[in-house]
């Protein structure tokens, strides 16, 4: 694998640039009742990522669901040091937008492709939320 290539373009939600590993959630995420901010872990029992930690990874997800506690719970991950490194989401809602603002991580939405299908967990990506691009640095091994 050589050379980064831009795989997605989108709208800036929170500016900033990060590089890291993608954690892709096929399903929407609940904040209140869906994550444990003390450990940065998804806890919703029926969620495909139940038990998985997002701390330090770029969270790629279709959008936010459930309670309005969403933003407060993600803000708490910042204050407790368990926040994701960045956020890429498909559907803009007040929960996801305010959540990204108070988590204070680079965030991108309204992309020109479906990030949940185009990115895989384990992909190493560069999220330039200021310029509005997602570059694929290293593809995760399949499986």
């Amino acid at each position: 694998m050589s050379g980064a290539r831009t795989v997605l373009r989108g709208r800036t939600v929170v500016p900033g640039v990060v590089e890291g590993e993608a954690l892709v959630s096929e399903e929407t995420i609940s904040g209140w009742g869906g994550i444990d901010p003390a450990t940065g872990t998804i806890i919703e029992a029926r969620h495909p990522l139940a038990g998985v930690c997002f701390t330090g990874r770029i969270l790629v997800f279709p959008g936010a669901k459930g309670s309005s506690g969403w933003s407060g719970f993600f803000q708490t991950t910042r204050l407790l040091g368990t926040a994701p490194l960045g956020m890429i989401f498909t559907v803009t809602t007040t929960k996801a937008a305010l959540g990204a603002v108070v988590t204070r991580v680079p965030a991108l939405a309204d992309l020109d492709g479906d990030p949940v299908r185009l990115l895989r967990t384990g992909d190493r990506i560069r999220l330039d939320a200021t310029a509005g691009t997602v570059d694929l640095l290293n593809r995760a091994m399949p499986g």
Binding site: K65, S68, L79, T94, K95
Partner: protein
Amino acid sequence: MILTDDERRMRDGADGPAVAAAMDLLIRYAAALDAERLCTVRNVAGTTTQPSPLKARLVAEGGWDRAFSVINLDADETLPIPPMAVPTCQLQQGFGPDSVDVVPYPADFVALQSDAEVFYGGRGVSVLATCTPYQVGNLPVRGEHCAWMESSAVVYANAVLGARTNCEGTASTGAASLTGRVPCWGNHHDEHRRGTHLVRVDTPVATFLDWGLLGYFTGDAVQEARPVVTGDHALPDLTDLKHFGAAAASSGGVEMYHIPGVTPEAPTTEAAFGGARVPEPLVYGAAERRAMYERLNDQGDSPDVDFVLLGCPHASLDQIRDAARALDGRRLHAGTELWIMAPRALAAVAERSGYTAVIERAGGRVLTDSCPAMSRAAPEGTRVFATDSAKQAHYLPAILGIEAWFGSTAECVDAAVTGRWRGELR
């Protein structure tokens, strides 16, 4: 983004640093939404008083000024907090002093919360302490722009009252309370209030249980979209709509719906869609009803019920009276507790109406201000609980790691009296 002269002055510090921080947060938030401007609001429902370990730490560091600055304004510095600029109420919080020795909830949290009530009450926050401010006097008028959080209250305000609010958060409501502004986006605009999906009810919906099942189906089917519900349903009352909306906001992210002929912005189905073509229906029939029931009940194995929870969102007087009638002359099973969660203002009415005495004679409790999901506190040793709330059946297993049964109020009361779950879909 367009700011008015007043908004620019607030941003630049004319009303002090806390208001400036509030405006800064609102501007960052509006940019994240790509909103063109802010709306003026005079009705804010948010959370400030409820305890958490993080809040306790912030208060120890710099008092309630620090807690509000960091959590409710997303500021880094500790700023002196002025009185709220517009009417603001506190939503549900932690368990209060009336729950000491009843609920296993930390005494230091109860003390912290009482201290918070003094501070925020002094700054003009009405401590309604309920997820249902619309049940105890906070009723915005139709068309009024609001900044509310609490998903079940937001959907009620939009759909049932015809007020206009997005699903706000802790920080945006805090900032709105000091500025009287919130991003003008989404539900604040006519074109984002019209129906997107048609849900056709083909199996009778008349009971409280059925409104919950229909809400759970609707949220799952449309996610964040705006359903228009037609067909074989009875005229819902406040309690039915409270349950329907809360369920739809739990399984999906529904913030607005229409029931033609019932809700204020939908005199007809055509009006609900704003004149656009009415889409093909999503059908809610007997099979869908059963599937929702089974999904809400797939988190229960043991029929031995330790705990019965009624009232989520907070119980109406009708619900408290119904529970009292069902419990009258009976006695709870030795190993089972029953809590009915209610707004404190309605609990006062239930008490003077004699409902509470009947419930307490049976061994049950009417508790206020909070709920087990909010406070993460259920009776000691609870392994299996039963509830008539689709929302609690959805959330509590993950939050408390307990099994859940969902059914009618009568089945829940039966479980409290016998200690056994015998519910079934009729």
